[in-house]
């Protein structure tokens, strides 16, 4: 297990828990939670500076050791996503991009065609692309063929905390995938993260379930342990289900039976 690293685009990570930076009460709390999570890859959004309402520089609260993963949130089309990615890169952010193209404000479901189109453009432009997607195994294949570094299926609607609602589709994706599968969005509890890891997800991305916990720092630690436990269970190999009972103690030489 010591060399069980997550490799994305040739870069290795010890942690299989990726965290977002949204929805915390303060940057200080966020920093403490990220530290407790052990995350080495952390998402940020890109927005226009509001000159009337100054907040601190979020990146100054993040250790240099974490890799920032800018997202394209706010993009409703491929062109808008590409514009955000290029702006982020020009300004010195990493060339890694969490691609999300979401035209649907109600369910926040990603547009598969625009996501694929943006992925093709960004890969050709030299980006390492991690696309957020509905767990469609065929789309995952197309994104892989386009050169994406991972595929990131949602488990349930963003921020819903409803857990692995799309588990069967994600399982098929994991069986078929040749790039890491990162379960992103919708997880509400550490047990769900553990289950995703047990059935073979390469990593999970968690934001709201940590940030909106009563104690985000403690919850970050809980997710860290759950992801580690789930991964170890996957590596260990689950026993497989049986229909009938099988005694764990010997059936022969029972004291009562003499």
């Amino acid at each position: 297990m010591t060399d069980d690293e997550l490799i994305i685009a040739g870069r290795s990570f010890h942690s299989r828990l990726i965290t977002g930076t949204g929805k915390y009460a303060s940057f200080a709390q966020m920093a403490e939670a990220i530290d407790a999570s052990g995350a080495e890859l952390v998402t940020v959004a890109v927005r226009r500076v509001d000159f009337d309402e100054r907040t601190g520089d979020i990146t100054s609260f993040l250790p240099e050791s974490v890799l920032l993963l800018p997202n394209t949130s706010g993009a409703e089309t491929a062109d808008e996503a590409v514009r955000i990615a290029r702006l982020a890169r020009a300004g010195g952010l990493p060339t890694w991009i969490k691609l999300e193209v979401i035209p649907d404000p109600r369910n926040l479901l990603p547009d598969p065609l625009e996501t694929l189109r943006a992925a093709e453009t960004l890969v050709a432009d030299g980006f390492t692309v991690l696309p957020y997607m509905f767990p469609d195994p065929v789309l995952a294949r197309r994104l892989e063929e386009a050169g994406c570094a991972t595929v990131m299926p949602l488990a349930a609607p963003i921020g819903s905390g409803r857990g692995l609602k799309l588990r069967e589709a994600i399982r098929i994706m994991i069986e078929e995938a040749r790039v890491p599968v990162i379960v992103d969005a919708g997880l509400g509890a550490p047990s769900e993260a553990a289950e995703a890891m047990e059935f073979g997800a390469d990593a999970v991305l968690v934001n709201t379930a940590i940030a909106r916990a009563a104690d985000p720092v403690l919850m970050a630690a809980a997710f860290r342990q759950a992801v580690e436990a789930g991964r170890r269970a996957f590596c260990a190999g689950l026993m497989g289900e049986r229909r009938d009972a099988e005694a764990s103690s010997p059936l022969a030489a029972s004291i009562a039976g003499s």
Binding site: A45, D57, S73, L87, A88, G91, N207
Partner: protein
């Protein structure tokens, strides 16, 4: 006097104002200040040399909390 817009707001330009000087005047500090000029991203290494002109539409952005 020439003007540009910054995030949709009218901005009066100094003579020969560069992107770097704009950021300084706006007080935008931090590790990452992201700049787009007329929908084209400006490379950070060129902030000192790119001069702003009349009617330029400038976007100044930065990383914020997000998932």
């Amino acid at each position: 006097m020439s003007h540009c817009t910054v995030n949709g707001r009218r901005h009066q330009l100094e003579e020969g104002e560069t992107v770097a000087r704009l950021l300084e005047r706006l007080g935008v500090a931090g590790r990452y200040a992201l700049v787009e000029r007329n929908r084209e991203p400006v490379e950070r290494s060129r902030y000192e040399e790119v001069k702003l002109g009349e009617g330029d539409r400038i976007i100044v952005a930065r990383p914020v909390a997000g998932g």
